[in-house]
Symmetry: C2
Subunit: 252 residues, 2 copies
DNA sequence: AAAATCATATCATATGACAATATGAGTGTC
DNA sequence: GACACTCATATTGTCATATGATATGATTTT
């Protein structure tokens, strides 16, 4: 299985190639604004020396970043950091880098908005297209979220699996591509505050997710859409509460 | 201004670097299934010879493709084509390559579904956040779409500009990132059939778009959402008619 | 002052070599 | 015969260096 940021976050293992290390450091530096938008990066040789790698490796790293839309190289001019609105925000690396510089509430809000636009639609599509096997799979995942033994990490993983399964069942490949976005949102929320803190929270989460599968199983598009909206709204509320530093009173 | 696929399609100019040519050819070959999912690509040296480029260039091209999620290299094993659901479908290159192998109705349908999930939400957000300057800008663009002198190409460009402006006005950076998707959809629709064929079509399109701006201007979220849905539905219907040669019956 | 020219800095490409890595065959042991 | 270990091997990963292509800005010419 693919090793996403969630697992990396948990395992903490980081035995990677020198190429990807350069990509990571440079990517984070750009996202964080250490190399501001519109400015020219230091030259190839300079950067190669800083990272203690050959120019070959550095250039391959630059191509990787360029492919994600972060930079644009031009002969004689240098390599320029592109405007933010040209970055491919659906790239999982870029999302991960965003969260590496502390949690940004605005950013989480934007992600919630996107999920609010996307996932209810995906749930509705799943109500049309999901196979019986997919439905029982989703149900198993939703039920598994209720395990009281969940740690915050394992709950986040279970949560992610469920939402990816819904995206898959929608039979629209674009919905599945939003998976990295969902993952980023869950990592962010998880870092802030986890519903695994109290048992009630876990039960609530599981119940809400089961409701989604029930609606999909009934082939009720509107119902599935509404049930998914509830789940996302709860997650967003949790973010708000955690950021405002206000004790959690009532969840949406 | 950025040179998107639309302009490339129109100008037909293709004076690019050898790196990007390799990327394009390889990318298209992968998307089209010439190198099927799960298989191993030929080795570096082999490919370098085929493309008549140095291994340096070839490897940089591979890194570009890997950054988009198309391939995964592993030492000693080779470079494997990843499963489709790991491709970043929101990448504008990948979208362009998809359309390079003829028009795929399913694919256009999926894009329409995504737009249906996204853009109405963006319009609603624009109704909340758009500045006066943005509103008048959008209105100018919507009116400009009614120019009876439009060629199919110029109409497609005007169409794209409008939808990007709405995304921008939503004040959510993710909405803007969907721009490449919108562009791909418009290219696809434009290749199939253009409303610029008849004058009535142009007037209709313009009127529908103006209505969106009016709702945004009134700060009416639901109204803006509905108006945008109409526009997307019309586009989707045009696709269906062009492909099936069957009149539209009912839209979801 | 305006236009053409040229030196220069930067990315783009090429070449050849060596290192790291994971497979699968081969070897040895029980 | 089954299992564990070793090792040759093929492929990607990294390195060092050299040359070409290109756009800028200073210089020269008109």
């Amino acid at each position: 299985m693919k090793k996403g940021p969630l697992e990396t976050l948990i395992t903490g293992v980081d035995t990677r190639t020198s190429h990807s290390q350069v990509v990571d450091v440079l990517g984070r530096a750009i996202i964080s604004g250490e190399f501001p938008v519109g400015t020219i990066l230091p030259g190839d040789q300079d950067l190669a020396m800083r990272f203690k790698v050959s120019r070959t490796v550095l250039r391959e790293a630059m191509k990787t970043l360029a492919a994600k839309g972060l930079i644009v190289p031009r002969a004689r001019i240098g390599t320029r950091v592109t405007a933010r609105n040209q970055w491919n925000l659906f790239d999982s690396d870029i999302l991960t880098w965003h969260f590496h510089n502390g949690i940004d509430e605005d950013f989480l809000t934007h992600i919630s908005e996107v999920r609010m636009a996307f996932e209810p639609h995906a749930a509705a599509l799943a109500a049309i297209h999901a196979t019986d096997a997919e439905i029982s799979h989703m149900m198993r995942l939703a039920v598994a979220m209720g395990d009281p033994a969940h740690t915050p990490e394992s709950l986040a993983v279970a949560d992610l699996r469920f939402h990816l399964a819904v995206a898959e069942a929608s039979a629209n490949p674009f919905m599945r591509s939003v998976g990295s976005l969902i993952e980023a949102a869950l990592v962010g929320i998880f870092k802030l505050s986890s519903p695994a803190a109290d048992r009630e929270g876990i039960e609530d989460v599981s119940r809400n997710h089961i409701r989604i599968v029930e609606q999909i199983s009934r082939r009720d598009e509107a119902g599935a859409r509404a049930a998914m909206e509830v789940v996302i709204r709860v997650g967003r509320a949790r973010v708000r509460v955690a950021m405002d530093d206000v004790p959690e009173t009532a969840a949406g």
